[in-house]
Symmetry: C2
Subunit: 331 residues, 2 copies
């Protein structure tokens, strides 16, 4: 008899989410049926989009029903199989959510092929966050060599990939991150040309100082004051890939201060969610996995230990307390 | 000896422009030089973009220098020529600005070919405003038959064309205009499916009532509260052609209240100015001129009389006092 500890969403946040919105349950695993696969999850991915699912306001995805296991991507290993295609020891990624085990009929499992790539990277640079970066940069910003590209939440799972891909495309790359330590990492470890600390005040002038010729492409993960400051530094015909607006996820809508700049600079702004662009995933994942395998693409992880730590780690992610990709290790 | 009355910009507005920003001058026309053409301007076009040129803040065009003739498109007739290609009686359009005559070396004159089209239409539906509508609708919104398209300033020179072209593309078309009279015109004369009066209050609900399935494409001429209300009614994957934001031209920037909707609905928003897309002009002008000639494309004009009336007519345009294309007749 195996206990499968899991985190349920039990109430919807009013404003900022709290630990009380979650509940740790510990049901027994059922017996495997014919054609089923049992996976032990090694890592759970925590991502900002999960905040949207907690609320029942209209968003790009339906709200998660109450009293169900929180949604989320996982990586792990098959430990029992009654399915001919899957054997114990197979490494897989899936969307099993915030729990220690998952049972599947095999249809929603993806095999992890490249042994050079750490399993956890399939939840980050070589997974959904990486593809998100790839899509927004290549399909929306589409930067030309010599252009200046900015990205907010630059030390995060998505932002770090955006900047490194933009550097490889021949761009000048400006990061925006919270705090000196994250900024130093973005420049020294990830190779950005500069990084400005949005907590240091006067982001507008700071951006102008490091991007005196203006910004041609911007990848937005934060919104609010950060986006306002970037907009004051945009060049004509610049492009904004609108990926996230984490600064406003917990409260009232944060206005955009000067939308007329979108007109005067003839900006193209595009909101997107990467799960609607499945056609690019194979191409993007191949490029990203190869780049992680060769060490060209670097990343950092913040790892919480144990399923019981997931709610607090998620609340920290929403406040920017993580540094790089936020994971929960389950083994 | 001929006097060429003209309107100069003599000071920059602080907030709302006033009559004092303009000065009526009355210089003599010089003798025509070899290779020159003298044009009598019959109509002057007044357009919202001129407000931007009056200020010296950064915009998509450089500010107009003080003590020079206000910029503007004109139509008229050659009355004297020392250029082999041009003869008295030739009907032309040009950018002579706010004055009764213009002298040219011929390089910036465009011949008006289609005798079925009234001269003034070359400043409206068959001119820059028409091409503006054509570009934003076809190249940015790119509507599919059956989609719902909204347009603000729907009775204006641009908006009226947007809606009629969208109808011809098989769309349900919603206008937004100021006042019952303009709304009635948009529906009855231009054939829109519905029009909501932004002055009647609760634009959000009014839009929902006439577009219960949501808005797929929006052509924005106004900004501010109008854009906010449209954004609350957008469908996923909708497109916004950002052409003008006249509601904010005279004062402080008007914020966009809920920019996160651009993300949650995966909206593509694009600011544009039609003079940067000269490649589409021949194709667009041909389609528009033909449609005006056959009566398929309808429009309305508000005509002020005499160059001295131009400043007041322009101030009225900024307040929405015109009804359809605002012109000044100079003959």
């Amino acid at each position: 008899m195996t206990i499968n500890r899991q985190i349920l969403l039990v109430s919807r946040p009013k404003g900022e989410p709290t630990l009380e919105n979650f509940h740790l349950a510990a049901p027994e695993l059922p017996e495997l049926g014919e054609g089923q696969v049992l996976v032990r999850n090694f890592y759970l991915s925590l991502d900002p989009y999960m905040r949207g699912r907690m609320s029942d306001t209209k968003s790009y995805a339906p709200p998660q029903p109450l009293d169900t296991v929180m949604i989320g991507a996982t990586v792990g290993e098959v430990i029992e199989s009654r399915h001919p295609d899957w054997q114990p020891g197979d490494a897989v990624t899936a969307m099993f959510g915030w729990q220690e085990y998952g049972i599947s009929d095999g249809s929603n499992l993806r095999r992890l092929h490249d042994a050079r790539v750490p399993m956890s990277a399939y939840l980050g640079a070589a997974g959904m966050p990486g593809v998100t970066a790839w899509y927004g940069l290549n399909r929306i910003i589409a930067p030309k060599a010599g252009e200046t590209v900015a990205v907010s939440a630059a030390s995060g799972a998505v932002g770090g990939v955006v900047g490194q891909l933009a550097k490889r495309a021949g761009c000048r790359v400006i990061g925006i991150a919270g705090g000196e330590q994250k900024c130093a990492y973005v420049v020294e470890a990830l190779g950005f040309d500069a990084c400005v600390d949005y907590k240091a005040g006067n982001l507008d002038d700071a951006l102008h100082a490091v991007a005196p010729d203006g910004i041609d492409g911007h990848f937005e993960n934060v919104g609010g004051d950060v986006l306002d400051a970037v907009m004051r530094n945009l060049n004509p015909h610049s492009r904004i890939a609108l990926c996230g607006m984490i600064s406003g996820y917990n409260g009232k809508p944060i206005p955009m201060k000067h939308p007329a700049l979108l007109l005067t600079n003839r900006v193209r702004l595009e909101g997107f969610i990467v799960s609607e662009h499945m056609d690019v995933w194979p191409q993007a994942l191949k490029a990203l996995t190869d780049a992680v395998a060769t060490g060209e693409l670097r990343y950092r992880e913040t790892i919480a230990q144990g399923i019981e730590s997931a709610p607090a780690a998620f609340l920290g992610l929403l406040k920017g307390e993580n540094f790089g990709k936020q994971l929960v290790r389950l083994v």
